[in-house]
């Protein structure tokens, strides 16, 4: 019995302490709140997406190839981040660092593509101030991008911390939380590419 319990706590280092359990639960609550936050942004976007005031429409602007590549990058980074947590529970420090670095690189690729995309749109006359559609688009997709940026800074910080201090009862919850966050922003992206880009393309 004791051996089995030990295995369980050893498998899930992030919830081995009360502090770890509290952090994980608290973070899920934060994600639940963020769900409502993004829902409000989605609602606003969907209500305003037709109000382009003579500027370019969603159909004219969006390029499915670029969106597909960005989606591929982010989705893959979600996989690599869970492989990092897996390595963490296997106590493989090198694995953790490797997969987290790959995650960051993929995320960075996503961001660069998105920035390129935004600049391209501004040249086409679709800006933050050009119409209600513009304001809603850049706020929704931009807020997601800001979350991605924050996540990258967070994970980089943790890569350094884990490299210095190793995988411990203190660092494990932090890594776990950062990957939960990372998965969440991929979840939001699923809705963005569906409701903004795909639906925007069909008009």
């Amino acid at each position: 019995m004791a051996q089995q319990e030990k295995t369980e706590t050893m498998e899930h280092l992030e919830s081995a302490t009360l502090e770890g359990k509290n952090k994980v639960l608290g973070f899920w609550l934060f994600l639940a709140a963020e769900t409502v936050l993004f829902a409000c942004l989605f609602g606003t976007y969907l209500a305003l997406k037709g109000r382009n005031m003579g500027g370019p429409t969603a159909q004219e602007l969006f390029d499915l190839t670029l969106v597909a590549v960005a989606t591929g990058l982010l989705l893959t980074s979600s996989l690599t981040s869970v492989l990092a947590v897996n390595a963490m529970n296997l106590r493989k420090l090198k694995g953790v660092i490797f997969w987290l670095v790959v995650t960051v690189l993929l995320g960075l690729g996503f961001l660069i593509l998105e920035i390129y995309e935004f600049i391209h749109y501004t040249h086409m006359g679709h800006t933050f101030v050009s119409s209600a559609f513009g304001s809603a688009f850049y706020t929704l997709v931009g807020t997601h991008g800001a979350h991605v940026t924050f996540g990258l800074f967070w994970i980089v910080g943790l890569i350094i911390q884990v490299a210095q201090r190793g995988i411990t009862k203190e660092t494990a919850p932090k890594v776990f939380l950062s990957t939960l966050y990372w998965h969440f922003i991929d979840v939001v992206w699923v809705f963005i590419f569906t409701l903004v880009y795909l639906l925007g393309k069909v008009g």
Binding site: N22, L37, C40, A132
Partner: protein, 637 residues
């Protein structure tokens, strides 16, 4: 110039963090002072004191704003406070009372009592607890600075667009509203997460969910409401900020925007908000009524169920604030019915309180008097609530004084009376002394009579056609006489509040010698000394029943401990949350003044301090059993 100053301050800021100061003796004096203790504390009991007194301060500020309003309205054609100045006062009265008085007062009571009621040593996230307070503090400060720096917001506490946009509100007032509420809103959200995790993960062994006191339950459900409602406000404030500061077009018709989106976002937050400020009140009344009726709460399971139903339905009714904007009969009907449905679980609660008192041994002390004043007053507010829930009727009531009467009956008769009840009830546990009962009774009666004198006539004002948010009215006897009576009534509330303030002051001039259980209480917080020691419980208690403390007293035994006497781990104090909140305050100020360099500096400082926190490696300290035993020997000697 401003940028230069801010950059210099920032460099000093960082220098202070990284070097730990330069004058060791001065630093020692600072570190041992009471002020530093309170700035850096992570102890939920001290944070409770901070919240409570900040709330009292803003209650007085909001009360003065109310006095100004009623002074203007005492006679028709008065020139005391007109036009935009009047609009600023009514806006700040509402904003201050709801966000900066009611919520912190509740957070104060929750912080002080919830961990004790569930047998915990602290909340789940002591660092975040401190952070939540300072965010509230700086947000409230920012909004109230508007009085001195450019003009307060003047578009009502609901700040509807398009009025709130630059075209019709060109000054900085609305910006203070947006940024101040955004900052303090983050604090509120953080505190809600803290309470939820505390209740789920940190209950003492044997303290099942259905053995928790009602105050804990209502705190829990109220925190869930905060969790899901505040993000809507966050988005609304963000979009309003973007429209005002960066030229976006969310609410501007001419560029394709819609003013209705603000109303939806605001009320998706705003309706749950009023349940956020009434559910904890219900919890206080349940605890107070059962204690001072010397009887177990009637229908506990149905009370819990009703609380959950009220919380859930509270999210489905926001459109009842928008019956008259033209959404159509289908929308209006659905939301009207849902609104009326909330009266059912609320009624269940009222009957349960009455059934608790029936056959009980009632003590009419001040806390109980406030609870007894709460019940009929709140019910009156609830009844007018069902009236305005009918869309067809609401077309007449909307934006009239009838609505003003309704919500003051529920907010003052409900929230404020319950806060007073909770204050008198838990004062010994929070501060080690009781409030004076004679002064308390004077407080109660002057406040209650003054309240009804002010707000009961306002129902007729509304029925006779007086709109709200107007600074004067026609000189006809009906309106003039009623407004006169209403304005006289505020004297009662002002005197009552003054007596309360005197009561508070005199309580601190006495010795802190209250006993652990001055009221013969039923719940766990009365099992520890008054005030509670820093570690709350020497040994976490083992719970075997509802009202375990009462049960143990009846059988003459102490509550069983759930663990042996051992070393107790305590978290360390920290100044980082104060710095993080200050950084956001600087950022907010930058955005308001359009000094975007300052805003950027504030945000960067915020993120840097977050990074520093992540790298911190402070495992706290321990209190050893010998220290606990020593204190026990002293107490016995």
């Amino acid at each position: 110039m401003a940028t230069l100053i801010i950059v210099t301050v920032a460099v000093l800021f960082l220098g202070a963090i990284l070097t730990g100061g330069y004058n060791q003796r001065f630093l020692d004096r600072v570190k041992n002072s009471v002020v530093w203790d309170y700035i850096t504390t992570v102890d939920h009991k001290k944070i409770a004191h901070l919240y409570y007194f900040a709330g009292i301060f803003y209650f007085v500020v909001g009360g003065i704003e109310a006095l100004l309003i009623r002074t203007q309205l005492i006679s028709p054609g008065s020139q005391f406070l007109t036009g935009d100045a009047y609009n600023q006062v009514i806006t700040m009265h509402g904003t201050t009372m709801i966000f900066f008085a009611a919520m912190p007062l509740f957070f104060g009571l929750m912080n002080a009592i919830l961990p004790l009621q569930i047998g915990a040593r602290d909340v789940a996230f002591p660092f975040l607890n401190n952070f939540g307070f300072w965010l509230f503090f700086f947000g409230a400060l920012l909004t109230n600075l508007s009085w001195f720096l450019g003009g307060a917001p003047d578009a009502g506490w609901t700040s509807y667009t398009s009025l709130a946009l630059n075209e019709f509100s060109p000054g900085p007032g609305i910006d203070y509203y947006v940024l101040g509420l955004q900052i303090s809103g983050i604090g509120t959200l953080i505190s809600a997460i803290n309470f939820i995790v505390t209740v789920i993960n940190m209950r003492a062994p044997g303290m099942t969910f259905l053995r928790m006191p009602m105050f804990t339950w209502t705190t829990f459900v109220s925190s869930l409401l905060i969790l899901f409602a505040f993000p809507a406000l966050t988005v609304g404030l963000l979009l309003l900020m973007f429209d005002r500061l960066f030229g976006s077009n969310f609410f501007d018709h001419s560029m394709g925007g819609s003013h209705l989106i603000w109303q939806h976002l605001f009320w998706i937050f705003g309706h749950p908000e009023v349940y956020i400020v009434i559910l904890p009140a219900f919890g206080i009344i349940s605890d107070v009524v059962s204690t001072f009726s010397k009887k177990r709460l009637f229908g506990y399971n149905s009370m819990v169920f009703a609380t959950a139903v009220i919380g859930f339905l509270g999210f489905m009714v926001w459109v009842h604030h928008m019956f008259t904007v033209g959404l159509g009969p289908v929308s209006n009907s659905i939301f009207g019915v849902a609104t009326m449905a909330i009266a059912v679980p609320t009624g269940i609660k009222v009957f349960n309180w009455l059934f608790t008192m029936w056959g009980g041994e009632i003590r009419f002390n001040t806390a109980m008097l406030f609870a007894l004043g709460f019940i009929p007053t709140f019910v009156m507010g609830g009844v007018t609530g069902v009236m305005v829930a009918l869309p067809a009727a609401d077309f007449q009531f909307q934006d009239s004084y009838f609505v003003v009467a309704h919500f003051h009956y529920t907010l003052i008769g409900g929230t404020v009376m319950a806060i007073f009840a909770g204050s008198y009830y838990w004062w010994p546990k929070m501060f080690g002394r009781k409030l004076n009962e004679t002064l308390g009774k004077w407080h109660f009666w002057t406040f209650l009579i003054g309240f009804h004198l002010t707000f009961l006539p306002q129902h007729w004002l509304g029925l006779f056609g007086m709109p709200r948010r107007v600074f004067t009215y026609n000189d006809v006897p009906a309106l003039a006489n009623i407004n006169l009576v209403s304005s006289i009534g505020v004297i009662g509330m002002a005197v009552g509040t003054l007596i309360f303030a005197i009561n508070i002051l005199q309580s601190f001039m006495k010795k802190a010698d209250a006993s652990a259980d001055p009221w013969n209480g039923r719940t766990l917080e009365w099992a520890v000394p008054s005030p509670a020691p820093v570690y709350n419980f020497k040994q976490l208690p083992l719970i075997r029943a509802f009202d375990q403390f009462w049960v143990s007293k009846q059988t003459g035994k102490e509550i069983e401990p759930a663990e042996p006497l051992g070393s107790i781990h305590m978290p360390s104090s920290t100044y980082l949350p104060f710095l993080m909140s200050l950084a956001l305050f600087i950022a907010g100020f930058g955005f308001i003044t359009r000094g975007f360099a300052m805003a950027a500096v504030g945000l960067i400082l915020f993120f840097i301090t977050m990074y520093i926190r992540s790298y911190e490696h402070d495992p706290g300290y321990h209190i050893e059993p010998e220290q606990l035993k020593g204190a026990e020997k002293e107490a016995k000697a």
